[in-house]
Amino acid sequence: MSELDKRIEENEERLRLAIESTQLGTWEYYPLTGELHWSPECRKIYGLLNDQEVDMSVFDEHIYEDDKQHVIQQIEEAMNPAGNGAYDVIYRITRFDDHTIRWIHPKGKVYFNEKRQPERFIGTVVDITEYKAFEESLRESEQRARIAIEAAELGTFDWDIAAGNYYSSPRVMEIFGYGNQKDVTHDDLVSRFHPQDKPIRDKAVKESIDKGGLMYEVRVVWSDQTIRWIKVYGKIIPGIHREVRRMYGIVMDITEQKSQEAMLEKLVAERTLSLMQSNEELKKSEERYSKMAEEVQDYAILLLSTEGFILNWNKGAERIKGYHESEIIGKHFRIFYLPDDRENRLPETLLREATETGRAMHEGWRIRKDSTIFWGSIVITALHDAENNIIGFTKVTRDLTERKMAEEQLQQYNRELEAQNKELEQFAYIASHDLQEPLRKIQTFTEILEKNITDEPTARKYLERITSSAHRMSQLVRAVLDYSRLSVSEIVLEPVDLDSVLDNVKNDLELPISERGAEIVSQKLPVVKGIPIQLHQLFLNLLSNAIKFSDRAPKIRISSRSLPSRENSQYAGLQPGMEYAEIIVEDQGIGFEQKYASRIFTIFQRLHGQKAYPGTGIGLALCKKIVDNHYGHIHVESEPGKGSRFFIYLLVAQK
């Protein structure tokens, strides 16, 4: 082997190594002999073992059916002596070993002999399946992008500033108002930007170098003065001097979106404004309301928790109930109720009623801080949240003491008027009956006397009867006068010591007491509010009755106790909330059946015959009238043969 040959061999070897490292297969074909050689790399591409023989039939066989015709045609063309012998084709093969389809790219050249016969056909081959797949996916994604761009009605542009090329899609022309006009330059497009918005675009372009991206929204003005909003997204390729070399991206028409946005913005702004206004109004009205509630003087307006604890307090509440805000917040509202009402759980009952029906109303006596009472008219209203749960109560209280007093005064007047009417009737009755009775007797006895005028003893007897009737007449007239005197309307009560009243009465009754051997025992009696002379009359009548209606030596006991104010309501005529004394006058006399207990206080009602117990029938009616005049009450318990017990209730004088 010559030195040259050696060097050629060496070079060939290097070339082979270089080719192998690039995964490039090589092949040689001798058309005249039909000889075919494939390099190992070439065999690898075809999936052919190294020791397997190859010839043209093997070559034909592996060409993918669809591409066969094309390949054969290309080979024929290369081997055409008229041509230049170049061969460059891309096609598919079916690999021998795993029968997969691969894309290959052979490149070769045909050498001709002197007779212009193709003598040698050599070349390289490379497996481009991966590249093909990449290319395919690229093509697909490009297609997808194009479809997306078209569907979204996006315009695309590509401005290669360095090269001075500007491309934009037909959609860009539409967006800029050029329709399908041709030969529209970049300057033409720029001229359509709204003059006021140009700086926005310039600024965006300038900043895009740092950001690497371009984004701006501007208006464009069409030739018919229509204004459209556009949005541009793009990429920037900067040059070494931070200049924009190339700019490409998309353009979209956002006019509709903008107008919707604008409308939405307008709506939101309007809503926000009206919300703010109503919020403000609400706040104002809340303020006004709380200010109002706070300042109201005539009503106590409170907020109660669900359990009835006081949460707030206004001036009216302070005025009516006397507590300062600081000492009442957090307390239970039962504090305003009388002990009796508290015991009967009236506050709780009212809350329950408000819970069940939404509202509870009540009128009654309530206590102030200073223990005085007032007549309160209250309304408790349940407060609900959005889910209709009770979250508390409002309680509005009015002090109607004056009205109540006026009402009571009116009732009192009514009662007085009724009583006076009744008395008038009784007076008529007296005139027709009781006062007539002695008169009738006088007339009758006079007649009998006349008949017996000559019979002196008989005449004298009837004269005496006439005198006695006349005496009774005058007694009755005096009693009626006493009774009528009690009806004087102006009543001024002053403190009266009942002990001294009793002493005076005992003095007046000294004679009957000693005659009947009466024993009067009394406890210490209170000082009451009264009219001295009337109270004297009251005890005089009661004691003289006790002495009179007894069949043995009278034993009389007088006792007293202070009446618990809650018992006031048990007795007709007592003033609520006032302090009363109960005085009991008890005898062991003849008594009477309890069923006559109310009758005995009526004028001229007598339970006993005139003969056994003489009297006018006015004494106890007088007692009743006196007690009524004192805003008091009198009643009696009695049992025949055991005695009677008179209960008198009088106002206690404050020390």
Partner: protein
Amino acid sequence: MVCFFIDDDADDQEIFGMAISEVFPKVRCLFANDGIEAMERLSDPTFFPSCIFIDLNMPRMNGKECLVEIGKIERLRKVPVFIYSTSWDHTLMEECKELGAADFIVKPAGLQALTDRLEQIIQENHLYE
């Protein structure tokens, strides 16, 4: 003839006795001081008065109550009961008649007036000795 007179007033008992004797000299007049006493007397089945006179205004049991009680006694159903009172109240008179009173006598002033009234009553009710 037996006459039963119920009145708490002793004077009236005497006056009535005198008057009825004028009309019926042989009359036997029995007295009670009030309704309770009268009812006790009438509970005796052998006591059978020809006529009964009741005062209205009496303690314990008054005239009207007494009238009702007498009405309950079967034995006395045909015995006329007269109300004898100072009252001349028409509604009261009507009330008493409804409760079973045969007539209503207003206590007159004077003995002769009473005698005359009693004679009239007796004729009207055919009460003869």
